[in-house]
């Protein structure tokens, strides 16, 4: 039997690192095949080899049973291989149809025939159930729609083998469901799909088989129906994985954070937080669920003193801290794991040691009379690196050189170690692999057990449901409802996130 794609014994080396070490991947016709592994396991390298962006040092590629040499993406396209990139390659100012036909425009008498283009795109999108308006500009459509445009681009070029590079990273939960439906439809129409991912849930929802790779090596190829999430996760990280569940008893203590009638405007002076009320107690994890852009960022920034409020009060430990400077907030007991770890959480060109004292560098014992105590700082950093299992050659390594998961561990180490009364964790595990997620979830639960208040903001419903003691759903800048994770489910949360309250009334 011949495979749609067969990559045999692929080896690809970069200076100082073997990214792919004799990897074999066999994708059957008409299946969704997951390529599963941690960040940096070599998934993207392997797919770049298949797509012609890298040349393998060794190994052979067969497409539909025939040996193929793929020099560049044009070769790949000719062979019917299409790639849906994680970062979209679209021109914002062009319409959907223009983007799709770009490079292969239909012509009439040597002139671009836009009518034909729109027609072809419309036909394609109907055939595969990809609902997009060909005449809208890309900048006017949602991220989920943009991804469909990327899919259509590959279909327009006649691809029958589609590579999806971590397609769900940028999508909301609803869009993820829609994407899964689309992928199933594509397979139904005779396409084969390779799904690059490190998310277990997606694999179990739509894949037929999965090839697991770890540190550049093949671990196994398994049938999804013959395995379970725990087994697959262990294969990926190479040890047993415990899914961290918030099982500590819920004993809420005193109010740590109290927000009353808060109003906040964004940079364009549009009110994005409207009359918001919220309380977080010691000893609880309060999860804020919501679709991106419903005021989560502004809410956190207002609490952290990074954004001025218009009205309302914020109290920390019964002290009014509305519009306090950030440093005062930190000194008053605020810890903050920011959403954008590279931009806001770390100074990438500082060493790990320097990053570990980013808020405390001026305090004893890290400084004496304005002079940095570099030895003390290095010692502290070494201790935290060990305690939080940051994989790095030394504490002198620049934060830039670390992987995403290790960068996040540095931030978590720094924030948790200060033992703040209130810990805000915004998207603390975005883009991380199972091992790192497990670790960070464990740390958040530990903080709760210590009686601290944890405010968790996440777009991942699973994360919210697993960790929270209470879930506050934010919609258009206010808390539409607060529910208990034991008494709710993804469906109900999804409806609340879309602004629909129990009983069916539209809010």
């Amino acid at each position: 039997m011949s495979y749609a794609i067969e990559m045999r014994q692929i080896r690809k080396e970069f200076p100082g690192i073997v990214a792919n070490d004799n990897i074999t991947l066999q994708v059957e016709d008409g299946e969704i095949h997951a390529l599963f592994g941690e960040n940096g396991a070599g998934k993207s390298t392997l797919m770049n080899v298949l797509f012609g962006l890298y040349q393998p040092d060794r190994g052979e590629i067969y497409v539909h049973g025939e040996k193929a040499v793929i020099h560049d993406p044009n070769d790949a396209t000719r062979l019917g291989i299409g790639m849906v990139h994680q970062h979209f390659m679209l021109i914002d100012k062009f319409t959907v149809a223009e983007n799709i036909v770009l490079g292969r425009e239909p012509k009439k008498n040597g002139v671009l025939d836009m009518k034909e283009a729109v027609k072809v795109v419309r036909e394609l999108s109907e055939k595969y159930g990809l609902d997009v308006d060909p005449e809208k500009k890309v900048e006017e459509i949602t991220v989920g729609m943009q991804q469909r445009v990327e899919i259509l681009k590959t279909l327009y070029r006649g691809s029958d083998i589609l590579i999806f590079d971590e397609p769900t990273a940028v999508l909301t939960p609803i869009e993820i469901q829609e994407l899964i439906e689309i992928m199933k439809r594509l397979v139904h129409e005779g396409k084969s799909i390779i799904l690059i991912t490190h998310k277990l849930k997606e694999i179990f929802e739509c894949c037929d088989r999965a090839t697991v790779i770890r540190r550049g090596k093949n671990i196994d190829t398994v049938k999804i129906s013959d395995t379970n999430p725990t087994e697959l996760a262990s294969m990926m990280v190479g040890r047993k994985v415990h899914v961290q569940v918030n099982d500590a008893p819920y004993n809420p203590q005193g109010k740590v954070l109290e927000i009353e009638h808060l109003n906040v405007a964004d940079a364009r002076k549009v009110e994005v937080i409207k009359d918001l009320n919220l309380t977080v107690h010691g000893g609880e994890i309060l999860g804020i669920a919501g679709v991106d852009g419903n005021g989560q960022t502004e809410l956190i920034e207002a609490i952290a003193g990074l954004r001025k409020t218009k009205s309302g009060t914020i109290k920390l430990n019964n002290q009014d801290v509305t519009n306090q400077r950030t440093r005062k907030m930190i000194e008053a007991g605020l810890g903050y794991i920011p959403e954008d770890r590279q931009k806001h959480g770390l100074v990438l060109d500082f060493s790990i040691a320097e990053n570990m004292v980013l808020q405390t560098y001026y305090q004893k014992p890290y400084a004496q009379m304005g002079i940095l105590q570099n030895k003390v700082i290095a010692k502290k950093a070494k201790k935290l690196i060990q305690e939080f299992d940051v994989r790095t050659p030394s504490e002198k390594t620049h934060a830039r050189a670390l992987s995403g998961g290790n960068q996040q561990k540095v931030i978590v180490a720094r924030e948790v170690d200060r033992s703040p009364q209130l810990l805000i964790a915004a998207q603390p595990t975005r883009g991380l692999d199972v091992g790192a997620i497990e670790f960070i979830h464990g740390k958040l639960i530990e903080e709760k057990k210590k009686g601290k208040a944890v405010l968790l903001v996440s777009f991942e419903l699973d994360e919210i449901l697993h960790l929270s003691d209470r879930i506050a759903v934010i919609y258009e800048g206010y808390i539409i409802d607060i529910v208990s994770p034991k008494e709710t489910n993804e469906n109900e949360l999804g409806l609340l996130m879309a602004g629909r309250k129990k009983g069916g009334s539209e809010a």
């Binding site: 100082g16 400077r325 950030t326 806001h344 990438l348 320097e354 980013l358 808020q359 002079i371 940095l372």
Partner: protein, 354 residues
């Protein structure tokens, strides 16, 4: 991956060295094309600096303001700002030191000399603070405002000299010897060069920049804001205050450079209709010195060596002095273009990591 990083670091250090070599080689080719003997020319530069005390002394003398100006640029660079206003800060520093020396001429040397130096630094600080304030408060880009401040400095100093400190020869009176950095001892040692004690100030400044940036909490903050204003803001630092502080300190270095000229080399200030050029050369020195204090010291030594040793090229090899400026320009060109190479390389290696 760590191997790759190490290589890039080596590259960083190699870039200035390679640039200097390439600059000298290209200079040699130009000389050959025009019909001069480059070996003779370079030989005369090296011999004059190292074997003729006068040229050696003049080289070190010219180094003093150049290094201070380089430090001023490098300091602001380190904190993410581009101070093009070193020239203007230098001029106000020059005038302030001379004015202080003349108006407080009755004081003993032990008071007057430090006071005059401080006056120079303070004037430079003020001239740096203004663009810093404008940037922090109104988001005026420092490149624009510091350039404007240069012109204000040029004409304000001329006006002040003309109206308040004027003497024959379109200049201020000579400062009292109690405020002078000049030293007959150093002059004798170097067969009559204008070498003065300002070299000590320059060396202290080199040390001060290193200490301030890498050993103090303020320096940590300044570097942090320089690398990432966003992360610094999230960590509770005041970005605005650090911008003002950075340009103020940068201005101090520049003002001191001016004071060294006023109290050391010239002992007065002339009304000039054009910039001294030292401030702008400081940018080149900082660039070649990779914005490190020790690098600035070495780059300053190289440039002033070329400029002063170059004076003997004409006599010994018939090569016009102007060729030195071409060589300096070539070196800067290569430093600039290897930044492009390095940038490409690092982009490449970042892609490879993914």
């Amino acid at each position: 991956m760590s191997n790759l990083l190490k290589k890039v670091n080596w590259m960083t250090l190699l870039i200035p060295v390679i640039s200097v070599i390439l600059g000298l080689l290209c200079g040699a080719v130009i000389m050959l094309v025009i019909g001069y003997n480059p070996v003779l020319a370079y030989q005369s530069i090296v011999e004059s600096i190292f074997l003729q005390p006068y040229y050696g002394g003049e080289t070190i003398r010219a180094m003093i303001p150049l290094v201070l100006a380089g430090l001023a640029v490098a300091f602001s660079f380190r904190t993410g700002l581009f101070n093009i206003g070193v020239e203007g800060q230098l001029m106000v520093g020059w005038l302030a030191s001379v004015a202080c020396a003349i108006s407080l001429g009755h004081l003993p040397k032990i008071l007057l000399l430090p006071l005059s130096i401080v006056a120079g630094g303070a004037a430079g600080a003020l001239w740096g603070f203004i663009p810093g304030f404008l940037k922090a408060r109104f988001k005026v880009h420092e490149v624009i405002s510091t350039i404007m401040m240069n012109y204000i400095a040029l004409y304000t100093t001329a006006y002040l000299i003309k109206n308040f400190l004027y003497t024959e020869g379109e200049r201020t009176p000579t400062i009292p010897s109690a405020a002078s950095l000049a030293s007959p001892f150093l002059a004798n040692l170097t067969q009559g060069s204008r070498l003065h004690w300002g070299i000590i100030v320059a060396i202290i400044a080199v040390f001060a920049m290193w200490f301030l940036l890498w050993k103090t909490t303020k320096g940590y903050e300044l570097r942090s804001v320089g690398f990432s204003p966003d992360a610094s803001n999230y960590a509770g630092m005041s970005v605005a205050r650090n911008i003002m502080l950075s340009l103020t300190i940068s201005g101090i270095f520049a003002g001191l450079a001016g004071a060294m000229e006023g109290l050391g080399t010239y002992q007065y200030m002339t009304i000039s209709s054009a910039f001294t050029g030292i401030g702008f050369n400081g940018i080149a020195v900082a660039l070649l010195g990779l914005n490190t204090p020790i690098g600035v010291l070495l780059a300053g030594a190289l440039f002033s060596g070329l400029q002063n040793g170059g004076l003997t090229m004409q006599a010994n090899a018939g090569v016009p002095v102007e060729l030195v400026n071409i060589i300096i320009a070539l070196i800067i060109f290569f430093v600039g273009s290897s930044y492009a190479i390095k940038w490409a390389l690092s982009r490449f290696s970042r892609k490879g990591k993914k």
